[in-house]
Structure formats: structure tokens, C-alpha cells
Amino acid sequence: MTAYLSRRLGLPRRQRDPLPGFGLGLGLTLFWLGTLVLLPLLALVSRPWQEGLHRGLLAFAHAAHDGRILSALWVSFGSAVLAALFDLVPGVLIAWALVRSDIPGRRIIDMLVELPFALPTAVVGITMATLYGPTGWFGAPLARLGVHIAYSRTGIVLALMFIGLPFIVRTVAPVLRNLPADVEEAAAILGASRAQVLLRIVLPALHPALVTAFGMAFARGIGEYGSVIFIAGNQPFHTEIAPLLVVIRLQEYDTTGATLIGFVLVAVSLLSLAGISLVRRRLSRGVG
């Protein structure tokens, strides 16, 4: 309010604003952001142009026609989208169980949901590969049925689903809890079936939260490295993810190539997130 007034009156804000610390706070924020985020990202953005604009453009053009880079980006992007989508159903079911149901053991489930967040990603990768590999707890029976999960794109999606699940549950649960129960009750009294209540009332109200949750799981998934490389198979054109290609380029002493892919990866995930937040804004407006 004061800030608004002072701006309307054209007064210098700091004379009018009773709160101290704007200059200091902004200074510290800019310093922190500048050294830890902007400086290294600037190195990433500027590296491709180091040998002149022309060479940089050429490198990008080359990358745009490099089938291996394109398919690695596609594998990362596609798997992240699928994993985030597939996580929505179990995520919502578990979130519902946590805040709306009275099934026994809710509090334990509530803590277990955090497990994927607590395990280091490399350990997740090794255990998933062991579980779903041809001799694993799940892998062996599935292999007898002719289903192979590890070392395929299915394996990548599965690893990303494990990583992404807490994001869905943690985003959806608070919204579910705050959803006024009386609307549902009213609908039920008016004769709506449970399915109708869910589809017509609960789900639409959840839409913005679902989109946010999807976005968070997706953002985590598209860049994920540690948990994926052990179960992916890592075959060029097939199961090679973009972050692995960054690492491979580095090991081939091709820093510029690695930077290029890293740059595109960041750009793709930022664009997708911008798109997602656009969708969410539209949805929340629609819901009111």
C-alpha cells in the first residue's frame, strides 16, 4: 500500500517506505544470483559464440541436423512427458488417500512418499536396474512373460516416474485438502454419483494443480541423469538421453559440443515450463 502510494505520488520510495533493507536486500540478492546462477549460465550461453558469431551459428546448424543429438533430446523430452503423465493417476490416488480418506497407515504413507526424494539418484538407478533387470525381483518374472523393461525406453520412463511421484503428491495434496467439501456434498445430495462428483467437481478444481505438478515432475525428468543411465541401455538413437550425451561429449574432449547440447537442453526445458505456466494461468482463470 505504501509502496503503491509513494509511486502514485511520484515520491522516491525509500523516503516513504517505512521498511528498511531494500538496498541491502537487493544488493545481496543480486550478488548471490549473479555469482551462483548468472555467471556460470553466462559461460554456458556465451561459449558457442567464443570463436565468432559465424562459427557459433554453424555449430547450431550442424547440431540441428545431427540425428544423434535430436534423438537424445527427443528421448529425454518424450520420457519426461510420459513419466509425468503416468505419475498423475497414482499421484492423485495417493494424495487423495493422504488427505481425504481414512485408510489405515496414512501417516506412514505420508512419510514413505518422500523416499524417492531422499535416495540419491545414482542409488535409485542401480536399484531400479537390479529390480527390473533380467534377474531382478520384477525383471525375472516379467522376462518369462517376454516383457523387458530394463535397458529400454520403458526403463527410462519407469525411473523418471519414481523420481517424479513425490512432486505430484506434494503439489496435489494441499489443494485437495483445501477443496471445500460442501460442494461435493451438495452435488451428492442432488443425486450425483460418486463418479460424477469426481469427474465434474473434483477434477476441474484440481486442473491447475495437476498442471503445476506435471510441470515440476517434467522439469525434474528432462534433465535427470543419475537414476536413468543405469537402467537406460544408453544406445545412441534409441535409449541415449541428452544429459548423457553432454557427458559423452565432455569425455570426447568436445567442450563446445557439450555446451551446445546443455544450452539446448536448458532452452527446451525453459520453453516447456513457460508453456505449462501459460496453460495453468488460463486454467485457473477458467475455474475462477
Binding site: T2, L36, S101, L112, A118, T127, G226, L270
Partner: protein, 267 residues
Amino acid sequence: MSRIVYALVIYLLVTVMIVLPPLLVVVMALSHGLGAAIESLADPDALSAIRLTVIITVLTVCINTVFGVMAAWTLTHFRFPGRNLLVVLVELPLSVSPVVGGLIWLLVFGTQGWWGAALERWGYPVMFAPPGILLATLFVTFPYVTRTLMPMLAHNGRAAEEAAVLLGASLWQVLWHVTLPGARLALVSGMLLATARAMGEFGAVSVVSGHIPGLTETMPLHIETLYNGYQTVAAFTMATLLALMAMIVVLVRSLIERRLDRTEPSI
């Protein structure tokens, strides 16, 4: 009836999707008995990895908390041109691949990067040494504190702070006695989230570490080294320890969040 089915579905989902992978870790760790597991932790390289992880985590969380609080304070209590851009930039590291989060530091401090050669000549190598690991961890955990704190500060508003200033409180007194107590639980929750992430980070750290046992290996990296050295029990024991440490952190966090839900209006 349908309630039972629903409960069973939930139990099955949670077991298959969430519980089994960590359970396998514990089973592997204990495959040669508890004694062998504990013994494997006494190895000097294992101890050094634990120490490095603790040091890096503590430093990371301290640095990102101090700056994160100031950023949340500035971004919620003041309106200024470019504010929205700053909010976006603070969240940026969340959408950057961990591998890229390591690579970018290589571009600045690697021997082939901007300043690496000069720093090395003066005798302060950054990459493939603990400072590089610290930088990579700082980057990946950057947004957590600010992100959790901002909605809480915005919700609390600035009236109490303004009153405190009118009564003659300094900036530090306001922060310490008014702002933070009002958002204490959100702050701790953000710090714990950053702690869990910092302890378990693999991708970013693996790019800048050099994997030198006893020197630049954090717990997640040492787990990989052990596993590749056929020391399955030791690898999974360390993984269990790391998961336990992270679980405690996460447990504290969810307890706090439950209190947060009860004592403070939800955000």
C-alpha cells in the same frame, strides 16, 4: 467393500512404486550380515566421503539460507522494476539438468574455462577439488529456501514489520524477531529440503569431482566407486546410511509441515 479395494490399491501402489527400490538397498546392504555392513563404514575413504558430504551440505545450506532469506525478504516486501524477472531467475536452477549444473562451472573454472588456468597457476584449483563440489551443490539447491519462504512471507504481509520499524527496530531486529518467527516453519522446511538434495546430489557433482577417493568423493560418488569395485555390501551400506540421513531430514520436514498446516493458515 470399495473402501477395502481402494485401500489395497493404494498399498500396492506405494509398495511397488515407492517402497521396493529402497528396500532392495537395505536387503543388499545386509546380505552378508549386519557386522559386515558396519565394518565397511570404517574404511578411511568411506569416512572421508561422509565427512566431505557433511561439510559440503552444511556450507551449502548455510550460504543458501542467508542469501535466500534476504532474497525472499526483498522479493516479497518490495515492488520494483525487474522484480518478476528476479523471481524467475531464482527458480531457474530447478529446470537446469544437474549435469549442466556441473558443466557450467567447468566452463568458468576448468583449465579450459574462463579463469581456471589463472587460478591454478596461483595455487587455488577450484575444479576437481572440494570448492568445485561446493559450487555445483550450491547451484542445484539454490532456489529451495527462497521458494518455500516467499509464499509464507507474502501471506504474512508486512504490517507487523512496519509496526516494528515505527517502534524503532533495526533491520536485523525486524528480521530476527518479527519476520522469521512468523515464517519459522517454512524456513526450516526449505532448509531441510535443500539439505536432502545437497546430500544426495550425483549428476552435477560427478562432472566436477574427479572421483579421487579420500579427497573429492562425496557419499553418492563413493557409492558408485564401491559398486564398480565389486564391493556390493559396502556400496549398499553407504547408500542405506545416506538414505537414512536423508530420511531423517525428510521426516523432520514432514513433521514440521504438519505443524505448519495446523498452526499457520495454509499457503
